[in-house]
């Protein structure tokens, strides 16, 4: 039975570690700088400047969000084992699963905090440039937040049993493939070979469908966004992350900390 209180204590400490880490401020600075460069990029065009500005801004948020999540997430558990900080924590009445989930929740909260700061920067740049902020933009940002929920879970899973280097490779791989699984399935459906259709459909089901979290194009171009396009990915993200954490906990429970 997982104690929400102990999970929360670990999570809050993880957030505190991030707040006191200068490196994250540097990454955040670059993210905000990239959002602001949307202004420069948009000046290269005579048309749809606002859209270009916001496209660059939202894309910067997605890429930097994913980058920071992977960068921090892959060392999330490994670092605790390497530095042996986990020894004293697990000697307290804290289960391995509580620790793992606490670290995960802490990193998700950290990512959401960074996302909130980047969102403020995005809104500020947009409003200064006269580009309107609509509900569609906010929906797109909300789904970025839930894409991070999945991505941090992927990084946590790999961090639970392998080195940051390998975890980075695996997580970046999943991130890249995760944005293509839907297209892969659509391609597979056109194939004549049953095996190809089955394999692409399986990949789409097993690997995260990260393209379902991408509403940037729709938001920037003012395309209609149905409520289901927001709610379903959110639910999907939460369940997928829960499944990954369950697997991570299974692996983590069996580990020896030598």
């Amino acid at each position: 039975m997982i104690s929400p209180l102990r999970v929360w204590v670990v999570a809050v400490n993880t957030v505190r570690a991030a707040i006191r880490n200068k490196l994250l401020y540097t990454l955040l600075f670059f993210a905000i700088a990239l959002i602001a460069t949307g202004v420069l990029v948009s000046t290269l065009s005579y048309v749809e400047r606002e859209r270009i500005l916001q496209d660059v801004g939202l894309s910067a948020i997605r890429i930097f969000g994913a980058g920071i999540a992977i960068f921090v997430g892959v060392g999330l558990i490994h670092g605790e084992v390497e530095r042996r900080t986990i020894y004293t924590i697990l000697s307290k009445p804290v289960s391995r699963s509580e620790f793992l989930v606490g670290k995960y929740v802490g990193l998700v909260l950290t990512m959401w905090l960074q996302l909130a700061i980047m969102t403020v920067a995005f809104c500020a740049v947009s409003l200064l440039y006269g580009a309107p902020i609509t509900a569609a933009h906010l929906a797109a940002l909300l789904l970025v937040a839930f894409e991070l929920v999945v991505l941090v879970a992927v990084a946590t899973l790999f961090s639970a049993f392998t080195t940051p280097m390998l975890a980075s490779l695996f997580t970046v791989g999943i991130w890249l493939v995760g944005h293509s699984t839907r297209n892969l399935r659509l391609l597979g459906e056109q194939a004549d070979v049953e095996g190809v259709r089955f394999a692409t459909a399986l990949l789409h089901r097993v690997l995260p469908d990260l393209s379902s979290f991408d509403l940037v194009v729709a938001a920037v171009h003012g395309l209609p966004i149905a409520a289901a396009q927001v709610i379903w990915p959110m639910l999907y993200g939460v369940f997928y992350a829960a499944l990954l954490l369950f697997l991570a906990a299974l692996v983590f429970e069996r580990r020896d900390f030598r």
């Binding site: 204590v9 570690a17 020894y87 000697s91």
Partner: protein, 316 residues
């Protein structure tokens, strides 16, 4: 009285195998070890580097799963979690979140251990005072010396007022003053009724403070028992310091009683067997010497320890 004390840490036939690398053969590091720690004692777990001390302690802390056997603390299997509010642990060369201050880290561990909010602040302050860190309580841990970190380690192990405390090489890397401070802290813990399990290879510390000891060599327990019983042998010896003993008598005593003779200026020191002491003394006094001191010589833990290591090497 010791025999009546219950064993609260039980290791029964613990086996641990490690696989050195992927595809490599498993290596056995613990070969079915068994021992117990009694309530209220300081227990020394002694062995050379690589003997299996830390592995055993990690099994007790649930950090490593045993391949076979059973380990329990306070009647609970070590794989359980809830009972850990009754135990404290100081790892070897502890590392803590160095972005936190001394007070923050203790508060963090107190929260994890479920210490109630109303008592947490008071408990943390009392412990900071107890380990002498009140003045540095607000400073980040990255500014602490090794000795200070060791004291933080002791404090975090005690923050939830556990009844059994496990210490892995608590004097490791400390200067003589730091070592004495830690020894005094451990003795204070026993005085407060706590049980202390201590992993170490510093034998003099064990001799000074431990009630009972177990020696592990190459994953086998070679000796265990009370310090007094452990150190006594059939061959008791005494160091006898004499003044004014003429060289001729000294040489006679050395040859006749197989005594070890050492010159110390105008004094001589003779190590003699206890059964020969009376006769040696009488002869020395008859020869006009005066007695400076008679000190019973204990077989040191080091001797027993080295014998155990040599025996193990002989078995291989």
């Amino acid at each position: 009285m010791a025999a009546e004390q219950r064993e609260i840490v039980c290791i029964e036939d613990i086996v641990k195998d490690f696989r050195p690398g992927f595809g490599l053969r498993r290596k056995r590091v613990l070969h079915g070890i068994s021992f117990g720690v009694r309530e209220g004692e300081i227990f020394g777990f002694v062995g050379p580097n690589g003997a299996g001390k830390t592995t055993t302690l990690k099994i007790l802390m649930g950090l490593i799963r045993p391949t076979g056997g059973r380990a329990s603390i306070l009647g609970h299997d070590v794989r359980e979690t809830a009972f850990r509010q009754h135990i404290g642990f100081l790892p070897e060369n502890p590392y803590f979140y160095d972005y936190l201050s001394g007070r923050e880290i203790l508060d963090f561990y107190a929260r994890l251990s479920g210490v109630a909010k109303r008592t947490r602040r008071e408990r943390v302050d009392r412990l900071l005072d107890w380990v002498g860190l009140t003045g540095a309580a607000g400073a980040r841990l990255r500014t602490y010396s090794k000795g200070m970190l060791q004291r933080v380690g002791i404090a975090q192990a005690l923050v939830h007022d556990p009844s059994v405390i496990f210490l892995d090489e608590p004097m490791s890397g400390l200067d003589p003053i730091g070592r004495k401070e830690i020894r005094d802290l451990i003795l204070r813990l026993r005085a407060e009724g706590k049980t202390v399990f201590m992993n170490t290879h510093i034998l003099s510390d064990v001799e000074m403070i431990c009630d009972r000891v177990a020696i592990i060599v190459a994953g086998h327990i070679r000796y265990q028992g009370r310090m007094e019983a452990f150190l006594s042998t059939d061959e008791h010896e005494c160091d006898l310091v004499l003044q004014g003993l003429d060289p001729e008598t000294a040489q006679t005593l050395e040859e006749r009683f197989e005594a070890e003779l050492r010159g110390m200026g105008d004094r001589v020191e003779l190590r003699v067997r206890e059964k020969n002491l009376r006769e040696v003394l009488e002869r020395a006094l008859e020869a006009g010497a005066s007695v400076v001191s008679v000190t019973p010589h204990r077989v040191s833990l080091e001797t027993v320890f080295l014998n155990a290591v040599e025996e193990e090497a002989g078995r291989r």
